[in-house]
Symmetry: C2
DNA sequence: GAAGATTGAATAGTCAATCTTT
DNA sequence: AAAGATTGACTATTCAATCTTC
């Protein structure tokens, strides 16, 4: 078997890796500078804001974000300390809990979102043709398909009524 | 201004984010299971193995991997403890240092590489048409271009003479 | 005993000093 | 004082228990 990637494949693979690393770093940097939120904070707030009653079970949150349970739990604890989310008991299943978006959390999201979306636009979508966008979606779909189970759900964006 | 992404853009963006998260998780999981190396370990070993004399200054390594200096330093310390790399003094510039690949480090890389490359093939390149591959490269190039400075260099793969 | 969730210890990564040489 | 590098403290993430309810 050929153990290596072809030169073409390798070139593509390395640029893809570079995009991941740098884009994530820049999005994080920009978001944190303008709002004090990390990308992880932002994603949690978005998911909560999209959910009925602005509340989710930790396990649901974990599935949506592709995070382990303990990561969710630690993250929620830290955000709770800052007043961005709260915990409530679950009436039906007394093992369970709810993570709920607080007023402050919603406020933080609403303040952070426009800038963050702007950054994504500027770095990714502006100057991307429709074809290129479609190609990217096809690529993502293919790889996700091969990654087994889950819904093709991701994490980010369009959360909340919002300014304008 | 429109603060939000269009529905199309949002769909694409979320799949792209999902791919990043899941692909990285799966590559890490598979690599670690088969070799005991993390993706970070692997990338460092690859870069060293590609360098003349199998040695790099920490700052060069940082540039190649898009890592901060302190991250490089901590990572090297941990890998040094495991015998995968060593440190040497730099004759020219006595502020500086070299990180060098050890025999054990090369061995670990050679053992890890075939499986890892196989995973990348299986998850990403198999079943990707040439057009799709080109599209991915164009996309990466565009975004990297907008991310400012650096060479379009990434991180990974094809390191070392290797088995076969 | 399995599911939902949390906790604590260990590993990784970031940020702000620090130290040495230039 | 700036460049190369390291260190220590702090934050984030993972991994292996643990605890409660089903």
């Amino acid at each position: 078997v050929d153990a290596w990637l072809t030169d073409d494949e390798q070139r593509v693979w390395r640029s893809f890796l570079a995009v991941q690393v740098r884009l994530a770093a820049e999005l994080n940097r920009a978001l944190h500078a303008s709002s004090g939120l990390s990308l992880a904070d932002y994603d949690v707030l978005v998911r909560l804001s999209e959910s009925p009653g602005c509340r989710l079970r930790p396990s649901e949150l974990g599935q949506l974000l592709d995070w382990e349970q303990s990561r969710v739990s630690h993250q929620v604890t830290r955000m709770q300390r800052r007043g961005l989310v709260g915990r409530e008991e679950c009436p039906e299943d007394r093992r369970g809990a709810y993570v709920v978006l607080t007023r402050a959390g919603r406020g933080a999201l609403e303040r952070a979102a426009p800038d963050h979306v702007g950054t994504v636009r500027r770095l990714v979508f502006d100057g991307l043709t429709t074809d290129e966008r479609d190609a990217l979606e096809r690529f993502s779909g293919r790889v996700l398909g091969r990654l087994g189970t889950g819904g093709s759900d991701g994490a980010d964006q369009k959360a909340v009524p919002l300014p304008e």
